[in-house]
Symmetry: C2
Subunit: 148 residues, 2 copies
Amino acid sequence: MAHELEQKALASYLEDHNLKHTKQREAILSIFLDIKGHITGEELYQRVREQHSNIGYTTVYRTMKLLCDAGLASERHFDDGITRYEIEHEHHDHLVCLRCGKIIEFECQKIESAQDEIVKRHDFQLLRHRHELYGHCSECQGKERGGS
Amino acid sequence: MAHELEQKALASYLEDHNLKHTKQREAILSIFLDIKGHITGEELYQRVREQHSNIGYTTVYRTMKLLCDAGLASERHFDDGITRYEIEHEHHDHLVCLRCGKIIEFECQKIESAQDEIVKRHDFQLLRHRHELYGHCSECQGKERGGS
DNA sequence: ATAGGTGCAAAGGATTTGCATGGAA
DNA sequence: TTCCATGCAAATCCTTTGCACCTAT
């Protein structure tokens, strides 16, 4: 079985929470893990459909929510308002190309510590943040408009 | 007339663009300017209604879009997906309390310059960014759940 | 007179929910 | 057998649009 580690993680999460292990959940996890970048619910649904024409939209959404709870995926919201999912991994932020839609990850210790200062200054308890840089990627800078 | 400067700015924007100066636009601008913080379309609509029960939802939305184009307002999108408007002013970012909904503005030169570095490193052309810190404000840190 | 503006209701798009059926445990 | 999961359709939420009427210019 591909993605054995993650499938096991899912299985044990399901057991621990008295939830059921279904073909749909296994299939959606597997297809989701095959994708490297950030995928929308719609896109994921399409991919799932290619292999499992009987799986519904609803199940994809519900399963992604489940995978987020299980710590295998995380939700991202960029400016277009469409929810995207990515494989859960260490903290990072994003550069988003407004022409081709490319999403690049970055992390920056300088910013993190500057944030900590701000949070302290306002006596805030920081739970999470969101930091996105929007612009044109190197490939799109010459173009009038961008495709993908 | 209150907010004379802004009303004039609106008037000249309207003239320049062959648009019409209406009571609704004047009223919405005036009420919007009375609000200090960040307001949702819904809240603004309610406030407008208190004084002008004949103004519709649609007009509030359309007018806010107009005010944004005119540079008098700007739209903000936080994690709850609801559009908020604020008076247009120099660049800043936000701290958002997840309990009481309080929104605090901040600006940080350190972060700005760190961003510039990242953007250069990826050969990106930066157009705008979004940086939001979510957590609990000082007043809400003791509470189980928050009102307001 | 003539564009643009308004307000209602209806549409829109992404996501969620109700409900009867299906399938793990 | 029991309860959770599924899939469809309908509902939801915020926001936008169509359209007939209205009103600045």
